[in-house]
């Protein structure tokens, strides 16, 4: 299945792109997908997404098809979905 990911802020820098469409062999839950994306982009990316136990970090906001997700519910993601990963920013 194909999923489009969008990244903001430090995640976009760590991924080297603000948007990418990735192919996954089978349907999986959101946190399962995050694990696979973290594997692809390595530790400089994954430190903004998952903690050492594999749970989402508390400052990560995830939106699925335009709506923020309750990460505790770990919803299933269907092919063609768009997953937005949002990390905090500030000013200066």
């Amino acid at each position: 299945m194909k999923i489009t990911f969008r990244y903001t802020s430090q995640l976009s820098t760590a991924a080297g792109t603000s948007e990418e469409t990735l192919e996954f062999p089978e349907e999986t839950s959101l946190i399962g997908l995050l694990g696979q994306v973290c594997m692809k982009h390595g530790p400089e990316f994954s430190k903004f997404v998952l903690n050492q136990e594999g749970s989402p970090v508390r400052t990560l906001v995830v939106a699925l098809d335009g709506a923020q997700v309750d990460l505790a519910k770990d919803p299933c993601v269907e092919s063609g979905s768009e997953v937005y990963l949002i990390t905090p920013m500030s000013g200066g």
């Binding site: 802020s9 430090q10 948007e19 905090p88 500030s90 200066g92």
Partner: protein, 243 residues
């Protein structure tokens, strides 16, 4: 009632559908607090002054440095080494002397938070430190004041309009400071001005009561792809600030 001078000054925006004399009058009777007045807060204050806000409270400690000048558009070259709020007040007064301006050469902190928020109707969160942002969020929730959170990094930004008790607060979105954030980060002045002006539009719509509300949404601005995406955001049932 608007004066003849008000009508002359704001002639081009009085015809904006839904805004009109009523919206202009509401703006004139509004005080906006802006913390701080750098890359985000500077263009926020400038756009509010241009729109005819009644009063600006500008909060920012410290003296102007050369590396501020790529984005802090209220500043002046001759202001280098002098308080930033001084440059900002001079720039805004020269631009529109009818705007009342109150400056504080200090940052938003525990000791001044309650008084600063109390004196304002609309608050813009533009500070670099998450501690300042969370404190401002907490105080706005406590006093039930609308806050527009504006933030940036590199070519990205977000704007989150917050109506306490009705929409997610900043702590609903981000319950703690991000551990990997760095105080100095890459940004171009045009990006900070873009994000700031999206934030000002939310504040103007909220205050003057016109246009399409984005309450309950976070706007994500991508200056690389020139896109603004919106996501529906949720209040956190266990939010330490607003639940």
């Amino acid at each position: 009632m608007l004066t003849e001078e008000d009508r002359a000054l704001y002639d081009w925006q009085l015809d904006v559908p839904g805004f009109g004399e009523d919206g202009q009058e509401r703006l004139r009777n509004t005080t906006a607090l802006v913390s701080r007045i750098g890359g985000l807060g500077g263009p926020v204050a400038f756009a509010l002054a241009a729109a005819g806000i009644g009063k600006l409270i500008l909060v920012h400690a410290g003296n102007l440095r050369k590396d501020d000048l790529n984005r802090q558009i209220l500043m002046r070259w001759e202001g280098l080494g002098k308080p930033r709020v001084q440059s900002a007040a001079e720039t805004l007064s020269a631009f529109n002397p009818r705007i009342e301006i109150e400056v504080h050469d200090e940052n938003f902190k525990e000791e001044n938070a309650a008084d600063l928020v109390k004196g304002a109707d609309l608050i813009f969160s533009c500070a670099p430190l998450f501690e300042e942002r969370f404190l401002m969020n907490r105080e706005c929730v406590r006093q039930d004041k609308p806050m527009i959170d504006c933030a940036m990094y590199n070519l990205d930004g977000h704007v989150l309009p917050i109506l306490p008790g009705q929409t997610p607060c900043l702590a609903c979105m981000f319950p703690e400071s991000p551990p990997h954030w760095k105080r100095r980060f890459p940004v171009i002045g045009a990006v900070s001005a873009l994000v700031a002006n999206v934030g000002v539009m939310e504040g103007l719509k909220l205050t003057a009561g016109f246009g399409t509300s984005n309450l309950g949404k976070m706007m994500l601005i991508d200056a690389d792809r020139s896109s603004i995406n919106k996501i529906d955001v949720k209040r956190r049932a266990d939010c330490q600030v607003c639940a």
